[in-house]
Symmetry: C2
Subunit: 494 residues, 2 copies
């Protein structure tokens, strides 16, 4: 595969001097156009050691307007990063829409290196590469343009380059690492070839660039990037449809068809005494479990969805009251900030994934995409339809990292909701909780019900199952939630 | 001092049950009003171990609307935090305007503990407490409301409390730490007293709360907080004036008065050959120094200000071209995002302070406050006048942490600027660099000149001096900048 990048391609100084100003001007022009779009451009710079990746990054910085471009080097991992799933560090640094991010080191680096050094076997390697493909697809389908460069050098040329670099440094600071890479040239090439092959997809193709001649290398990069952005700007109006989109519209078998939600027993009740006793029992338990989880560096995510007035807030307070306030963080999902809007919708949830040993409680969540955004048509059909897959993948990554997930849908009957709405209007400190929007949402009860059923069906996975909570009696709901979260913790902790 | 909090104050259950709903309603009401203001509320929860700080935090979370409140626990420091100046972790978590942040652990914790354990002596302790005062002043004057609670227990009551808690935990997870604190009760009280005394200022007074009776404790906290927010909401229109404001308006001694800027020799030139030779020399040097700095975990901040068209971008590219792209980050300061606008103006610069061993290059900076914001009147007079002090303090914190700072003002004659503006309009890839705004700024040359002179005079400190760069010849400027940065690095590194 790499033979195509060992052809000895060159550009003369004259050719370069003619081509550069034209390229430079055009790149600035597309960058300006880009700024007005919602397209983030992700440039991936990778390849063999010694191929001048750093020089290419510098060249791009020279050609492009510094405002609206960022170079992101993924190198040392901080503990804040290692304590979260591997993709957290990539999510946190993705370029906002309308800007260009040059990634020096990327999601490819670790899998490739791990395979070279035999830390993972081929099936695991391929699994990681598939994850990369899916991640790139998720970004692309959301509007991103991904331009991937692989810089190649033959073994002989690499040796020459590394020698030169070491000379420049005099002191052999980077030397040992370089030598290490050069020694593994063959394994590295083999590992890379598989990576390129498996992730070379139409939406994010690889560009193999011969790196011996610097002028050829740089002009090629500039042209490929220019071409890719130009093409993407033209396509702007096109609506990509993900192959992962699931069609949830089913033939209705009649209004009386029973759904998952209908199976929730809303008749359960609990006396005040029983409640007090159980509440205390599970709160004590949770208090200890939360400390234990911290000791064992296991994080949890507790997530609440439910009808308006289902009692999410009250349930959350019963959980937080049981834990040391240093151990948890409650994230109430309201409208996104502009930094959040400039990113994929999952970005604002990724950013709050807890560090090792801590708990994040989400009051409403990423499921907004397939609930309110679906019903109110804030998201386009294709967007929410592919969200099931994106969400499952997100949660899978959390679980693989050992994060304990508890997802609650608090269910309620229409009548009980009405009763609570009316009650809220009467009680002073609850008045703020009831808005016109709540009344409007209520009119769409059936649409929401369909959405909830689809959601639970499609995202109740083995690793992150939904718990449908009987919510007509708040006391029942609170105890059930506490109990379930405790169970999740007990199962996961030693 | 703490005797006032050992009076055995109590509230009966009946009193509490009557007071709570009223308090609850009122708190929600002021919280709603707060949302529309630009006031961030910072609630500091501190005091002796066992006083129920966690319970208070939970109580506040119960009383307030979860949207617009966040609990921020400062506990374990991550390496991303330890690699930056101590206040970085506080800055990154400050509550946005219109919201309430409950700080569980705060800037007080480490100084108090360090003093208790004899890790710092009294002068250093007092120095740190003064820094706290200034920090709180900076926030307050910017609009923040700071409400500080100190929860007190007598030694006997503390022992009782800690025993109970340990019993609840059964396993002695937190036990050892608690015991440790209890053992040092006297030292802790002494250390705390000094902290409270030195930081008990009108703008951010301390509230000593007796913590034996939980009902008394919680109601007191609620009332103090309510009262503080109510008062602050009334004051809204008031314009606080910082005592640190410096009056820079001086009697002009006539138009011919020579300024600092006039002393910059703009006649220097460099031949193409000399330039090439020196450029190469210093770039080689910088390449090595940057690696060395990383080895020694020393960070740098390089900051560029200068007239429009002074050649900041070109100078920055000569620096970045010399360094490995993984070692630096360029931050171009454009208009702030809404997350940035919701914070003190220094917040968006703090967020990019580099990790240990890395370089952040700021293309324009916090000095915008005393340059463009002053001249264009984007900042109020009091705001930019107190900024000199705030900036010096910010830079002092960077330096104390061992960060190497290089600040460049690239100077230019009016004629040379005009020549460059015209040139830019002619060259295709430079066209985007010249806007109507640049022409408008040019008309205010003298206002800017005054502002620059004031800035350089007031912020050229021993630890972070300005370098005024001769910029009429770009080649001279680039070499001077590279050379100066190299010198800074050489001086600082072993």
């Amino acid at each position: 595969m790499f033979e195509a990048a060992e052809l000895g391609q060159k550009i003369s100084k004259k050719e370069f001097d003619e081509a550069e100003p034209v390229l430079h001007t055009k790149l600035l022009e597309v960058q300006r156009q880009l700024r007005k779009t919602n397209i983030p451009v992700i440039v991936i710079v990778s390849g063999v050691e010694g191929a001048g990746k750093g020089a290419v990054v510098n060249r791009l910085n020279e050609w492009l307007d510094a405002r609206g471009i960022s170079t992101i080097a993924f190198w040392d991992q901080s503990d804040e990063e290692t304590e979260r799933p591997p993709y957290w560090r990539f999510w946190r640094q993705l370029p906002p829409r309308g800007t260009i991010g040059i990634l020096f080191g990327s999601w490819y680096t670790k899998p490739v290196i791990d395979y070279v050094y035999g830390r993972i076997d081929q099936p695991e390697y391929e699994r990681r590469l598939r994850r990369i493909s899916e991640f790139e697809e998720l970004l692309t389908i959301d509007g991103a343009l991904i331009v991937k460069f692989w810089f190649h050098l033959s073994k002989k040329d690499q040796a020459k380059q590394l020698k030169q670099e070491a000379k420049l440094l005099k002191k052999d600071i980077k030397g040992s690492l370089m030598k290490k890479f050069a020694k593994r040239y063959k394994e590295f090439i083999k590992s890379s070839e598989l990576a390129i092959r498996m992730t070379d997809q139409g939406i994010a193709p690889w560009h193999l660039v011969e790196a011996v001649d610097k002028r050829y290398r740089d002009i090629t990069v500039g042209r490929v990037l220019l071409n890719a952005i130009e093409k993407r700007l033209e396509q702007k109006a096109l609506q990509p449809v993900s192959i992962r989109t699931v069609d949830v519209t089913k033939e209705k078998t009649g209004a009386e068809a029973r759904t998952l939600l209908d199976h929730v027993d809303l008749k359960k009740t609990l006396s005040k005494e029983e409640y007090q006793q159980k509440l205390e029992k599970y709160q004590r338990k949770l208090y200890k479990l939360a400390w234990q989880a911290r000791e064992q560096k296991r994080s949890s995510i507790v997530m609440f969805e439910g009808w308006d007035a289902a009692g999410k807030g009250g349930a959350i307070r019963r959980i937080t009251a049981a834990m040391d306030a240093r151990l948890f963080k409650v994230i109430s999902i309201a409208s996104p900030t502009d930094e959040e809007k400039a990113q994929h919708y999952l970005w604002r949830f990724w950013r709050h994934v807890p560090r090792a040993g801590y708990v994040t409680i989400y009051d409403r969540s990423w499921y907004g995409r397939v609930l309110v955004e679906r019903v109110e048509k804030f998201a386009q059909e294709d967007e929410w339809k592919r969200a099931y897959h994106e969400i499952n993948d997100f949660e899978e990554q959390l679980c693989e990292h050992g994060i304990i997930i508890a997802k609650f849908w608090i269910h309620l009957s229409e009548d009980e909701q009405l009763r609570r709405f009316k009650e809220r209007e009467l009680i002073a400190w609850k008045k703020h909780k009831i808005t016109d929007e709540d009344w409007r949402n209520r009119e769409r009860w059936n649409d929401y019900k369909t959405a909830v059923n689809d959601m639970v069906t499609r995202t109740s996975t083995e690793y992150a199952p939904w718990t449908l909570v009987s919510g007509n009696d708040k006391l029942v709901a609170r105890v059930e939630i506490l109990k379930t979260f405790c169970q999740h913790l007990e199962q996961a902790l030693d």
